[in-house]
């Protein structure tokens, strides 16, 4: 008996068939309205890239201080190998500058092909260093099919990296925004301005710290505090000069001089990385911590790394926000493979998986309006966890200052509070 | 310099009887210029030459020279002739000179059968042929059915018999005995000594016996050389 026959004999089945038909029609119609995303755009160029990529091994240099990020990259590697025959080797960096130094070293040694780095997770000063020295391959960003899902023209922050134009040399991968988290079982009203933070530290000495600059989260805290303290925030978008640097940053240094003795371990030691603060909060060594990932606290709760009473909040005056990117060095050994990996990492599936607090909990760079209804549902139905703020509660996004500020801040911090103290 | 040997070697360095048995011709072993052993001797097939002397008199060095495992510190001159062939420059494993020590030196990791098979020349080919020779050899020394036994489970007398048989299976053309009976208790000693000597005679092997046991020397009933203390 064929199904068709059944349908003829049984009216109920016939009705079902109609429903399915209408459903199919709807999908066609809906996707017709958003043609950009219904089907991945497959052009001849991309087919050639896929062919060339098959069998390649991509050495993906990515910061590896968080085991959950490592696990996510491992998952992506397995998927890419299964689907496109591209192997991914995650070269685990404790600092992205390690990859930059390797590429520089290869350039110096005259190695213009067969380089050790195929794809690197990067932003800010590291991107600037590579771009200024002509060490990047491309422009290539717009050649990958999933580029369209970003709707880049509407999102300036996806084509500027710490105020530097990306010029198609890197594709955005993830968004970050500075948030604070605290254990609501211990404190009820956390400080929401930098001045309030100082007052709170006077009452609760030793209960807050920040990662050791130049670790990126530590540096990010310096910038976040700078925004909250300096009256000249608008000058941060342009390069720092000898003329304005001292004037703009003076309030930050006097703040730090006052609060450092009130920090955890009296400021004689700092956590070596952002995730290290999770353990400190869980152990009750500190009450307040910072993260560059609004989903991190929920993710940590689900992995037993934080108590379930932890909550996230943002500063009243706004939070530093940026995007991080994927770039291919000029001498990469597996350029095509790297593009295939990047394209997969930008796919709705990979981006939604990244958003899952059980996995990583990092914000997507995709513009949800560009996605099909089914893909959009992946994001909208995601359970973000009790400790994660809804998107509309994340407040103002403060842009990253020009990288020259970062470099000067790190150097001065080191001289005042680091080794040079 | 203190040459210590006995008896003084004859003027004839190479007799016509060297065609058979083991001849040590003007064999002189020196250590740092000092003469340790200097002798000239011939052992006819089936005969036993006994060498006696206190420890430190170079007995074991003499044996190592004949076996071919001398340490380079010693300077050796002269010739070792076995059945008419000069073996002085042959590598040890080609000399066909067997040796038995005070300890039985059965390989502890091999079964009794495998110990015997280790001595059996490779010319005996085929698993079953080799096995048959091993079984026969065991029967010969009254140890039927011992092939798979662990050497450590045998008595001292049994082990001594296996050691002898293992050496004989290698078909040596001369036999050196390095105080081979002193580790055995009195009752066993006579028995094993008789066994070794009779087997050597049967096979017409020239035997060099190193000992400081008077009873061994008497039982050997052959020539006797005394080495003096060198200090």
């Amino acid at each position: 008996m064929t199904p068709l026959k059944v349908a003829r004999n049984h009216p109920r089945c016939a009705r079902q068939s109609v429903v399915i038909l209408i459903g199919l029609l709807q999908i066609v119609l809906v996707s017709g309205r958003t043609p950009a995303s219904a089907q991945p755009v497959v052009n001849a160029e991309w087919v050639r890239t896929l062919d060339a990529a098959r069998g390649q091994t991509v050495y993906f240099h990515a910061w590896a201080g968080s085991t959950h990020i490592n696990a996510y990259i491992a998952w992506a590697g397995r998927e890419v190998e299964k689907r496109f025959g591209v192997r991914v080797e995650h070269v685990k960096l404790s600092d992205t500058s390690e990859a930059v130094s390797r590429i520089l070293a290869e350039k110096t040694a005259g190695r213009t092909e067969g380089g050790a780095v195929d794809l690197v997770w990067i932003n800010g000063e590291n991107f600037r260093a590579l771009k200024e020295n002509g060490l990047l391959y491309g422009p290539w960003a717009e050649t990958i099919p999933n580029w369209r899902l970003l709707n880049a023209p509407d999102h300036r922050e996806l084509t500027t990296d710490f105020t530097i134009e990306t010029d198609g040399l890197e594709v955005p991968w993830s968004r970050a925004q500075m948030v604070f988290y605290y254990d609501s079982a211990r404190i009820s009203d956390p400080p929401r301005t930098i001045e309030a933070l100082e007052a709170w530290l006077v009452e609760h000495p030793g209960r807050f710290t920040y990662p050791l600059p130049p670790e990126f989260l530590g540096t990010t805290f310096l910038k976040q505090a700078l925004y909250g303290l300096t009256p000249y925030a608008h000058e941060l978008a342009a390069p720092a000069t000898d003329a304005n640097y001292d004037r703009v940053t003076a309030p930050l240094w006097s703040f730090l001089e006052r609060v450092t003795p009130l920090l955890w371990r009296q400021g004689r030691a700092y956590p070596q990385s952002g995730p290290r603060q999770l353990q400190l909060v869980a152990d009750g060594e500190i009450d307040l911590a910072i993260s560059f990932n609004p989903g991190e606290a929920s993710a940590a709760i689900s992995r037993y790394e934080l108590p379930p009473t932890v909550r996230t909040y943002v500063m009243n005056y706004g939070s530093l926000a940026n995007a991080s990117f994927l770039a291919i060095p000029f001498n990469a050994s597996a350029t095509e493979g790297a593009k295939v990996v990047a394209n997969f990492l930008l796919s709705p599936e990979a981006q939604a998986h990244k958003l899952d607090p059980e996995v990583w909990g990092a914000e997507t760079v995709l513009d949800l309006d560009q996605l099909s209804a089914a893909d959009r549902r992946l994001f909208e139905t995601m359970e973000r966890g009790a400790a994660t703020l809804p998107p509309d509660a994340l407040g103002t996004r403060l842009p990253e200052p020009h990288p020259s500020w970062t470099e000067r801040l790190e150097a001065e911090w080191d001289a005042r509070f680091g080794v040079g103290r | 310099m203190n040459p210590v040997y006995s008896p003084p070697h004859p003027d004839t360095t190479e007799g016509s009887d060297d065609a058979e048995g083991l001849a040590l011709r003007r064999l002189c072993i020196r250590l740092a210029g000092k003469v340790l052993v200097d002798l000239d001797a011939h052992i006819a097939p089936g005969r036993i030459l006994t060498i006696m002397g206190p420890s430190g008199s170079g007995k074991s060095t003499l044996l190592s020279v004949i076996i071919g495992t001398t340490a380079p510190a010693f300077t050796v001159s002269g010739r070792i002739v076995l059945d008419g062939t000069d073996i002085s420059h042959l590598p040890p494993q080609k000399r066909r000179v067997g040796i038995l020590f005070q300890d039985d030196m059965l390989f502890p990791h091999l079964s009794i059968g495998a110990n015997l098979a280790f001595g059996l020349p490779p010319a005996v080919r085929g698993r079953s042929a080799r096995r048959e020779r091993v079984v026969r050899a065991l029967a010969d020394i009254g140890l039927e059915g011992f092939e798979n036994r662990d050497p450590a489970t045998l008595s001292g007398g049994q082990r001594a018999r296996v050691a002898l048989m293992r050496m004989l299976l290698a078909e040596p053309r001369a036999l050196l005995l390095d105080e081979p009976f002193s580790g055995l208790d009195a009752a066993l000693r006579d028995h094993i000594r008789e066994l070794v000597f009779s087997r050597a005679r049967e096979r017409r092997l020239p035997v060099l016996l190193v000992t400081h046991d008077e009873a061994d020397a008497r039982a050997a009933a052959g020539d006797r050389i005394e080495l003096a203390h060198t200090d």
């Binding site: - | 066909r96 020590f101 050196l176």
Partner: protein, 577 residues
Amino acid sequence: MGRPFWSRPVTPRHEDRSPFRYAPLVMLGVMFVPVMAGLAGTMLPAIGYFPALGGDSISPGPIMDLLRWPGFWRASALSVTTGVGVTILSLAIVILFTAAWQGTRLFSAAERLLSPLLSVPHAAAAFGVAFLLAPSGWMTRVISPWATSWTTPPDVLIPQDPWGLTMMAGLVAKEVPFLLLMTIAALGQTESVKSRVIAQSLGYGRTWAWMTVVLPRVYEQIRLPVYAVLAYAMSVVDVAIILGPNAPATLSAQVVSWMSDPDLALRFRASAGAAAQLGLVGVTLILWRMAELSVGCVARRWAYRGRRMQRDRPLRVGALVAAAMPIAAVLVGLLSLAVWSLAGFWSWPDVLPSSFTGTTWLRHASDLRDPILETVRIGLLAVGVSLVLTIVTLEAEQRFNLNLTTRRLGLLYAPLLVPQVAFLVGLQTLALESGLDAGMAAVTVAHIVFVLPYVFLSMAGPYRAWDDRYATIATAMGSGSQRTLWRIRLPMLLGPLLVAAAIGFAVSVGQYLPTLLVGAGRVQTLTTEAVALASGGDRRVIGVYALSQTLAAAVPFMVAIALPRFVWRHRRGLQHR
């Protein structure tokens, strides 16, 4: 023939030209060439010569730059204080414990614990110690809040205290087992028990008797291992990263971080730092030697007075406590790592987690696969090469009576006396300079430099102690030296062979710096992965990696103990060896 026929040497000459003869040279070459090349690769950039980075003239620039680095003097002082402190403490504990307890059942029990303790990689031990001693660690959890009335962990700077005390504790815990093993080996070569008993019969207390009559001879034997401990503790990097201070870090740790800085100009400063580390270790070793002489002089004067020190009971108890603490710290530390790797939420001051879960292990099972494979590959290769070189050398020594004993043994220790950073930095520079790809092969070569001495030292004793008459008997039965080696000698030495392999493997598993610097970060073993996790501070994952690392080192030991017992289960003569 010019000479009379009877003066021809009677010894066989056919083996004189055998390549075997050169085995000891080859072995020393394998150990020394990388060290020497690496030192050259460090020294040249330290004085400004590094063409690939535009340094083509000799200048004092890098050294001046290093001296201008504000942390230099503190980092150097830290290196000396931790190195000397660790060596004195470890040596004192080992000497006191051996003096007070040698020959007792307790001492043999401690002896049995040594192999497992030695196989624990430094990084894993350091992680364990970190959790024990941290203000939020197990020790404060056990006594809080009932005994301390602390409601939050005390805000004290441990680990990473600026004096490096936590780091010293972690190092002492690992060096005590090493020195104890070396001491026990040395005791075998001295008539220690007889001497002590004679001194006791003259009325000397047990501990003092040992120290006056046995120690001088034992110290002669363990001098080089003591120097190795001093050099190691002064320049260690992985333990320093986990337990050491970070503002500034120790000199070696700082050199490693300069090596990975994007600013390649820092390579000059890193090389100068590595050279400075070498000089620092050299000077400290010379001072140590001078201190040895004066301590010996003072001790002889004491001994001449003839005081008997009969009532040494408190001293003996103190020695026991002092020896038990580091051993317990390592074992309890490992246990804490195991608990963390299985922990659900675990807040302070709970002594145990509120729940247990296997999810951390499950989540990382697939990530563990590659580093485990890499660890095993490198370990097997390094151990294989080391074993072959060792056996060929020992066999050559045997066959040609080459004298490679005590005097030249010092050479074996030489790579262990050179601080690792001093030549590994240079090896990376050479790789960069020559454009060679630093991969697994290069890492394996660097591992062999450290594995070979341990394999040789642990194999040499049993190999030389083997009764030569077995070989004579075999030869007399017509067996060539190859056949004797394979059929008789090696099977009989199966146990020691496997133990040497296990020791070598454990050494390889624990190597951090050779893997990181020579592999240029691209070769990832369990150790590099575990240390990389240190900054994240995720104790659950650290537990998983540190335990995996410990198991990788410990499993070969279990095999080395179990396999000979199984293979020779029907051979009583080979048991209880």
